[in-house]
């Protein structure tokens, strides 16, 4: 039995392994390439997306002074409600006494117009906003009167086409009016009082192209739905 060092016989140079058969390798190349490309894309898109989202935070600005008013009034309506009137290009505006969002919209009769939601507090005698339910009741009554009875001033008249009480929050009303100075514009509005806050949801013709002849009755259900959702968001 040989138990010495392992015998070293000269070995022929190892033949290079013949290339493996290529069947199936194209598929593997495709899979690997696609995965690598996706990974690289995800990394780049993720960074760009994060930077974009951070840099373009549209609602960056002073916070509302009163906690009763929402910091993001454009989120008061749902996407499906906004879709029902083709609302686009939201614009939010804020002052101490109010938060508003308005959109370009197209109403059920095909006319263009603005949809808007306003949350506001009544002003006191110094024109300062106040959180006071009785002041809000008085303010609601003043606005309700205009929306139910109309008004007839020297420079501004409100003609009521139809109106009715609603059952949203503390008190509410919906009204269709034609507002006129030298020209006339159509408007539908839902007015709601939620404690010390007034919520106004309106559909109106664009100021520059108003006719006073738009038929917004087909949009009333959407306005009422939005008002209900907006009121609930405050409760």
């Amino acid at each position: 039995m040989y138990d010495g060092p392992a015998q070293q016989f000269p070995q022929p140079p190892a033949a290079p392994a013949p290339p493996t058969p290529r069947r199936g390798s194209t598929g593997r190349t495709v899979v690997i390439t696609a995965a690598a490309t996706l990974a690289a894309y995800a990394a780049v898109a993720g960074v760009v997306g994060a930077v974009t989202l951070t840099a373009e935070e549209g609602m960056a600005g002073p916070e509302p002074e009163f906690a009763e008013l929402p910091a993001d009034p454009c989120a008061a309506a749902s996407r499906s409600q906004l879709g029902a009137v083709s609302a686009r290009m939201p614009s939010a505006s804020f002052a101490d006494e109010r938060s508003t969002c308005s959109w370009h919209a197209e109403f059920s009769d095909g006319s263009p117009g603005h949809l808007s939601i306003t949350f506001r507090l009544p002003l006191d005698s110094d024109r300062e906003p106040q959180v006071d339910e009785s002041a809000a009741e008085a303010e609601f009554e003043e606005r309700r009167s205009e929306l139910v009875d109309g008004s007839d001033g020297d420079y501004w008249t409100v003609e009521v086409l139809e109106s009715r009480e609603l059952d949203i929050a503390d008190e509410s009303v919906v009204s269709h009016v034609v507002e006129s100075d030298e020209e006339s514009g159509s408007r539908a509005e839902v007015l709601v009082r939620v404690g010390s806050v007034l919520v106004e949801v309106s559909a109106s013709e664009p100021w520059e192209v108003r006719t006073g002849r738009a038929d917004l009755t087909g949009d009333e259900d959407v306005l009422v739905d939005i008002a209900e959702r907006a009121a609930t968001s405050l409760e």
Partner: protein, 223 residues
Amino acid sequence: MAYPQAPRPPRTGLTVAVTAVVTLTAAGLLTWAGATALASPTQVRPAPGLPPDPCSQLGEDTLAAMDGEFYSWYSGTYANGCTWTMSLAGRDDTPVYLTRAVPMSGSDARAAERFSADGEIHRDVDALFAATVDDAGELGYESDDASVVDTEEKSLDFGDESVLVVTDIDYGYSDSVSPRVSLIVREGDLVSQIRFSPLASDDGIDADEAEELLAEVATDMFG
């Protein structure tokens, strides 16, 4: 030593390139579709080139130096703005308005045409700048009583181009005219405007005086 010839290698480079392009295209389309779906009407997203947070355009030191206070602000897709009250031209609580806008594009511009009496939507920044300067020299609304008496324009050195416009308005209820000062500045695709109305006076003010009044605010914002 002869070995069996391997089958002709496939064009691996070409496969990789084609796969990468197809994958990137698909991923890009999906991302675009996702981003479009995310452009929700429940959220304000400024168009490219429109910086958010207009109220931060004026530094706190300048605001404090002018007894300034925040009053209101707004934020839309193609425009945003902020209003302060400050001590200016010897008057406390003068409202000072900043508005900023970029040109509209695509389907938004087509939609907005229906909202404008003349259907004029500014799709490029030169038209937007020119229209903003023109508007600064006009009353801005129909009136039987009020009218523009005089308008003076002066080019300044802010941004890529800038014009100061002093518009003297006779509101029809007194003998004096009320000046209105507007500074319009273009920076790339962004057109900004600061506007305020000094107290009415018998003499009015000229563009040099108006420039001096606005100097601190304008330098802070655009200097």
